[in-house]
């Protein structure tokens, strides 16, 4: 559990400035460790570094104006902020620049103070330091648990989006506070994203996912709207419960605050363009790479800036996943066409999650070669139908099979026909296009024995109980088709004896293997 607070404060109390350049200063801090009794976070410092990198790249922050702190104490944080404020004052004294101050903290906190390791920074003091800055825009962003307490006290409330009528001409004043969670909620980290939920979506938004207006600029309102929507959606599926970002602001003026300019990329103009609406997860290099951004868009041609390189893109659809790799060259925009991607089979999709699909099922035809059940009766060739039902954690596969075998001794020939009905419960593990599964199965069987003899051998009808282990290996084919090989070990409990009605129940161990093919729907 991550206890993070996101507080974005924009204080626009400075008097209107001349329309010179806008200089952006940032203090970015991340602390994985809080108070001794608090669980160490995994991604707070990574989040801070990611925020800094994105702000530098598309936010218009010069590297020399960004101060990044990791595992800092409250004194370190306080000193860094005061130093930034001094620089801002000097800048304003020496130029007609307008200044934006962006303060970000990711780490532990409670309703009263930030927990910077074993030290604490009272939030009221932090607010005063930010408000006291001479910067025209003052943005404070905190990421920790129960941060909504701040906005609640100050009149903040959870909202899906807001419209800050402030433009980048800075002719306005006011204050905004945004938190990643409500006052009584925990903020959560995601191992899948390698980040906190809110920061993951906030940074994705800054990279272009939140460019609702499609003007190649992401405003504060757009970034918050995107982060809010996606955080609520994503955390609604977690056991910790839904996380509701909140905000509170006090500003005057009109326009909007542009947090990132996608055309401003300081180093490169590389980007991915998603031609179709959808939900896309972008990872660096391959499927196990770090998550770069997540794009959820109802519109076509959503553009996300990325660094040149190779990216693994996963599109989540209601009924399938599409995965593929795209290469992004320097200063080029690469179109992502998921029609050309590998489509993940339905069964894998259920196990993988993330699409809302909770079940996959479909018929299979199978052939099985099974060793003899009783001494000398010979192996059996079974044909039949199965119907696997794939659930997120296991697969249930009922099957019915029919087979027959012939054997003979010096007196008679016996034909044994078998109908068996089993249910297997297996746990599957996916690797690329392959799935292996292992589990248990249980069922019953009917045997009919017919004898050819010059003597006397009445027909027999026997019933038995069987159970055992089963293992499968599956290769997934297009359109939900799949082929599978199976191995199994079975124990039969059945009446055995030369006396048709007087045999005792005995056990028979045997094995089997087979092939099957089918399709999931």
């Amino acid at each position: 559990m991550r206890c993070l607070v996101v507080l974005i404060g924009i204080s626009l109390s400075a008097p209107p400035l001349a329309r010179a350049g806008v200089v952006k200063y940032g203090l970015i801090a991340g602390n994985n460790r809080g108070e001794p009794q608090e669980v160490e976070l995994l991604y707070a410092q990574d989040d801070a570094r990611r925020i800094a990198r994105i702000l530098e790249r598309v936010g218009g922050f010069r590297p020399e104006n960004l101060t990044v702190l990791a595992e800092a104490s409250s004194d370190d944080f306080r000193t860094a902020l005061i130093t930034l404020n001094d620089r801002i004052r000097q800048d304003l004294q020496n130029s007609d620049n307008e200044v934006l101050l962006f303060v970000f903290y990711s780490g532990h906190a409670d309703s009263d103070e930030l927990h910077l390791g074993k030290t604490a920074l009272p939030i009221p003091e932090l607010r005063r330091l930010v408000r006291g800055s001479a910067a025209s825009f003052r943005i404070l962003l905190l990421d920790a648990c129960k941060s909504g307490f701040l906005t609640r006290v100050k009149g903040g409330r959870p909202v899906e989006s807001f419209d800050i009528q402030v433009d980048d001409k800075l002719g306005t004043e006011g204050t905004v506070f945004i938190t990643s969670s409500a006052a009584d909620e925990d903020a959560q980290e995601s191992d899948q994203f390698g980040s906190s939920f809110f920061t993951h979506f906030f940074t994705s938004g800054l990279l272009g996912a939140a460019d609702y207006s499609r003007d190649n600029k992401v405003s504060l309102a757009e970034a918050y709207r995107y982060a809010h929507e996606q955080t609520v959606k994503a955390t609604s599926k977690t056991w910790a419960g839904t996380q509701h970002p909140t905000f509170q602001y006090d500003i005057k003026g009109k326009g909007d605050v542009v947090l990132s300019d996608l055309a401003l990329d300081r180093y490169d103009k590389s980007a991915l363009t998603f031609e179709t609406p959808g939900h896309f997860l972008i990872m660096k290099n391959n499927a196990s790479g770090s998550v770069v951004a997540e794009v959820s868009s109802l519109e076509t041609n959503r553009r996300v800036v990325v660094e040149p390189g190779t990216y693994f893109v996963r599109e989540r659809r209601a009924d399938e996943l599409r995965e593929g790799t795209v290469a992004v060259s320097s200063n080029e925009t690469t179109a992502v066409r998921t029609d050309e991607f590998e489509r993940i089979g339905y069964a894998r999709l259920v196990r993988k999650g993330g699409t809302g699909r909770r079940i996959a099922h479909g018929p299979q035809l199978f052939y099985r070669f099974r060793g003899e059940v009783l001494n000398g009766l010979g192996p059996m060739h079974l044909f039949g139908v199965s119907y696997p039902v794939v659930l997120p954690w296991f697969t249930l596969t009922p099957r019915i099979g029919y087979g027959q075998a012939r054997a003979e001794n010096d007196i008679l020939e016996v034909e044994t026909r078998e109908v068996d009905l089993l249910v297997a419960a297996t746990r599957a593990f996916d690797w690329s296009r392959f799935t292996v599964a292992a589990g248990l199965q249980i069922g019953g069987a009917y045997w009919g024995q017919r004898f050819e003899t010059p003597g006397l051998a009445p027909d027999r009808d026997a019933f038995g109980f069987l159970f055992g282990g089963i293992g499968t290996a599956t290769v997934h084919l297009p359109e939900g088709f799949h082929a599978e090989v199976t191995g199994e070990a079975l124990t039969y409990l059945v009446g055995i004896g030369a006396d048709r009605e007087g045999g005792g129940v005995g056990t028979a161990l045997t094995y089997g293997f087979g092939v099957s093919c089918g399709r999931f729907f």
């Binding site: 009783l374 001494n375 007196i411 019953g444 003899t453 019933f463 038995g464 009446g495 030369a498 048709r500």
Partner: protein
Amino acid sequence: MRFYSAALIPLFAFSLLSACGDSLADIHYKGDALATIRGELHIEATNRPNDTLQVTLVWAVEDLIDFRVNEDIALEGDSFGRYEIEMLVPPPDAALNVDPETGGRIGFANIFAYDDPNGDGPINLGNIEAENYATLLFRMRGGSPNIMLGYAKDSFDVGTNIANELGTALSPGYFLVRFDGDCYCPFSSDPCQDSNGQTCDVRLDMTVLPLDTDVDLSLVNDISDFEAVPTPDWLFF
């Protein structure tokens, strides 16, 4: 609990079915016995028989050397007190004779005890053909003096010669028949003769016995000492 209860239902169902169904026969099952011949061994010989003593059926056909052996059964136990032969199949057609009157097929077999000292397994037709009759006789240690096993492949109704001789109609299947007396009268006009070739006038009496009748076997030192009832040659047609 509801889930576990539901899961147990098929378990109980299959268990019940296992109890209700027939047993499954394995490859050793050779069928149910059409007839079971059992009885006691009377050890009259001074030489105790070897442990390799076996009981066999020798089907009587016209050429006596052409033995038709149905099955050899090893005797179990030390006492040789009792034996049992399960007849799982009918005799081969070659062991049967065709009744010229009805065209029905019927056969009779002597029940012999024989020794298998070299342990070369049961006697079968191939083995016997490879041996001479004397060797086979040398192996004989005794048999039933007056009871033969019969097999009717077809029915013999009342009024037929076979039914008249046996004193009863025959349905298809195995039967036991006891021969009493020492005077045989052939169907031909030839006179009746006893075992010494002397003319006699008392017919050999044949009685069909229930299949569960004990057929006792007498063991002798020398097979020539074994006195069996004369086999009527009409059996060979």
